[in-house]
């Protein structure tokens, strides 16, 4: 099981999707480097996030949003939810 930042096809936003377990081994593998390493031996650099165009689909968090946690939090999770 490996978390990968897989860029979806057809301009759809990228997704954070765990892939299938390694077929023959139970050794979990390190994730692809979340920060892009500029230097040489990096074999499989992976896009760290959506492009600016894709981000603009979702409005940035403002004071009008219901939120819990500091604005400068390392992680912001936005849920579009339905109570029913």
């Amino acid at each position: 099981m490996v978390f990968a930042l897989a860029a979806a096809a057809c301009g759809a936003p990228p997704t954070l999707t765990p892939t299938a377990p390694l077929p023959t081994l139970t050794l979990p593998a390190p994730t692809a480097a979340p920060t892009l390493a500029p230097a040489t031996p990096t074999a499989h650099a992976i896009t760290p996030g959506p492009t600016p165009t894709e981000v603009s689909l979702f409005a940035p968090v403002t004071e009008a949003d219901w939120q819990a946690g500091p604005a400068e939090a390392l992680v912001t999770i936005i849920e579009y939810g339905d109570f029913q």
Binding site: A29, P30, V75, F83, Q84
Partner: protein
């Protein structure tokens, strides 16, 4: 689930809730959303949010009139101003706001609920606490990651012995600097940088392998760069005590490494073998068994307090 994550990481996690009431298929979605807003107007949005989700089974099949009555009970439970709550709800004070939120969400083309954005990126993995806690731990690890592979810090013609310090004792590993210089250079660099301080053996499969080297403890973390494989054909994982680099495919070595606890011929040629346990194999064999891939709620693993390097 997200509330729990926020409680666990109050400084690092912010939770944002936006309404997407699926009004075409859920007859009470609009009213429920408006009720949360009416509670929010009295400073108790999250209380009502939590209550509605916790009690969902109790109201999901009610006729809407009964649900409306139940909302008054919930308002009382939360010690809201009952008259104000009822007036806001029955006067449709928040109807336009929820309708507008619905329009926005459908305008984006959201496929359904819950729809989650993790730092702006749509999340489509399993929605469970373990997965999100792992993502937060990996996010926290980023500040420690390097932007480039390590500089040359070893002399491949010297001898290097790494000592893993654990509560159960020490494990000494001879590093094969001459045959796998890039890998040993990386390992020595990371050890001296303190990368391995206080990390866990996040996976321990007795008789097979003990795996560590990821400060996030998730099994998905790395130092921020990859180094290539260094496969030496005559080095085989044919016994307990060999030390190899974990990877996610060819040339994706980072900082995770494993110690074999028995012959693992399937690993030959796929994983860089760069060292051998020369003392303390019994310490490795006593490590607490743990397999977070099978049991995400596994108890904490054994900790390596530090890895020191002796150069001769």
């Amino acid at each position: 689930m997200l509330a729990q994550l926020h409680q666990e990481y109050p400084d690092d996690v912010r939770i944002v809730y936006r309404h997407f009431p699926l009004v075409d298929i859920h007859d009470k979605a609009q009213l429920a959303a408006e009720a949360s807003e009416a509670a929010g107007a009295q400073g108790k949005f999250w209380k009502m949010h939590d209550l509605l989700f916790e009690q969902q089974a109790a109201w999901v099949n009610l006729p809407i009139a009964d649900f409306r009555k139940l909302l008054d009970d919930y308002a009382a439970q939360l010690q809201l101003d009952a008259a104000q709550f009822a007036a806001d709800l029955d006067g449709g004070k928040f109807t336009p706001k929820i309708q507008s939120a619905y329009q926005t969400a459908t305008g984006i083309g959201l496929p359904g609920t819950p729809f989650l954005l993790f730092n702006g990126v749509p999340y489509q993995g399993p929605v469970d606490h373990w997965a999100f806690a792992a993502l937060v731990k990996l996010e926290k690890l980023k500040s420690r990651q390097f932007s480039a592979p390590p500089p040359e810090v070893i002399d491949p013609f010297k001898k290097y012995v790494a000592t893993l310090h654990t509560a159960r004792g020490e494990v000494q590993i001879e590093l094969f600097a001459e045959r796998t210089p890039l890998t040993v250079n990386n390992f020595v660099f990371l050890a001296r940088e303190g990368w391995f301080d206080n990390i866990t053996f996040h996976q321990m499969l007795p008789g097979l392998v003990a795996l560590t080297g990821d400060p996030s403890g998730t099994g998905f973390g790395g130092p921020g760069y990859f180094i290539p494989d260094e496969i030496v054909p005559e080095f085989k994982f044919d016994a307990a005590g060999w030390v190899g680099m974990a990877n996610a495919g060819r040339d994706t070595n980072g900082s995770q490494f494993f110690i074999t606890l028995g012959p693992l011929p399937d690993l030959n040629g796929k994983y860089t073998l760069f060292g051998k346990v020369v003392s303390g194999l019994d310490v490795v064999q006593q490590i607490t068994p743990r397999d977070p891939t099978a049991n995400p709620e596994a108890p904490p693993g054994d900790v390596i307090t530090k890895i020191t390097i002796a150069e001769k």
